[in-house]
């Protein structure tokens, strides 16, 4: 099933308790208040539940922007429309 970038942003907005309008692929994760230990754990659970994606420790540690999360999802077979 194909999903849009906005679908992923909406999911991230819920995970990080941010407004969806404030999120974009360019947004740096360190600038997001919810990007912390509990936020990371919640993101891992959400990606597993929604897309069946398991993140590796290296992938998580290399996340710098939302675009990095989108790239990993695409690499793991999630069909995200451009």
């Amino acid at each position: 099933m194909q999903i849009s970038i906005n679908d992923v942003l909406a999911m991230l907005a819920e995970v990080f308790e941010e407004s969806v309008e404030s999120l974009s692929p360019e947004r740096k994760l360190e600038s997001i208040g919810g990007w912390d230990s509990i936020g990371v754990l919640t993101l891992m659970a959400e990606l597993d539940d929604q897309y069946g994606v398991t993140l590796t420790t290296e992938e998580i540690q290399n996340f710098a922007t939302i675009a990095d999360i989108l790239a990993v999802l695409k690499n793991k077979g999630v069909d995200i429309a451009e």
Partner: protein, 387 residues
Amino acid sequence: MSKSFDRLSKALAKTLGISSVELIESFKPATESDLEKVVAFRKQFFTDGLKWDDRDYLRWRYSFSDNTADSHGRYWLLKVKDDILGTIGMESFELVLNGEVKQACHPLDLMTKPELKGVGIGAWLNLALIQKSPIVFVLGSSEEAEGLVRKIYHPLPDCISWKLPINILGSLKHKLNVPGVVPLLAAVWNSYSAISRTVRFKGLMPENAAVRQIDRFDQAVNQLSEESGIAGIFRFRSAEYLNWRFIDNPCTNYIALGLYANDMRLMAFSICHFIYSPVNRQQEAVIDDIFWSSDANNQNGLIWAKAMLAETVEHAVRSDAKLIQIAVCSEPFSRTLDSLGFFPRGSGSVCGVYAADPVISKQVYNDKLWFITEGDAHGEYYEQAIP
């Protein structure tokens, strides 16, 4: 929380390449056979070294055997295939909750394997711990710990730090680069401070009361705790707890003072220690704990609290402390500090509490009833003791 914990555990387990069951089973209290491995793991975080033997600290703070009768807590490890991924200490203590004593715990020593930093293990360890105790009380002092406290626990009012400068020469020298003026300014302010203290402290000591240093706490302190003038929620100060926490502490030397009424009854006590401030290049005193009894004529006992505080300040001044600090979360006692000339110096630790039972949570989430002091934290790791 339990359902959410299961979901988060499943996700973390997958990332670590193990099953949820393995993850949960890998979270266990450390035993004697883990000690050397634990010491080696912790050494990564104390790159500047410690002024004490970490083994002494661990053996003092935690029980490494399953016989937990006299234990003050266990040190929990997330150990997968003999590899320690993270640790969290669980100090057990008695919490007085509106007159009733309840078992509670306080997480500390939260550490995550550096190679796994940022993958959520710290949050998971906290979540795993709160499944194991009816009441969890937490203090966070780092930015990361504060974020965890605010998200996982019910936030309590911050512990506010207060200071009472006695001699400001050191701090002025650090802040102002005007060598000729600084000693003069300091002398003027120090004289004002001494006069202000004399006026504010005058008549605080009840008639026929006396102060004595306490070498070891005895049963008198248990009675004081039971008759405390502090209404609300606080840690029960038993002789056994105070002797363990302060007198037998392998990291810091504490000084305990007792205030006795004319019938020699213990009415209040305070505990302080001295630190050397490398910034101001001076000796400073930290009041770690203060506690007082109620009184037939003074239900809240603040008369004893004020007298005890004033005597502790005088003791610190005689011991050459140039600054006296205290951190406390308590509205009534904050007013006492203000009236005795202490200045608030901003937020200290962020405090939070979690209780799964809705009846208990309704009681412990009452922000105004908590009485928390520096002694409830464990700052020994983060300060420089006097050489």
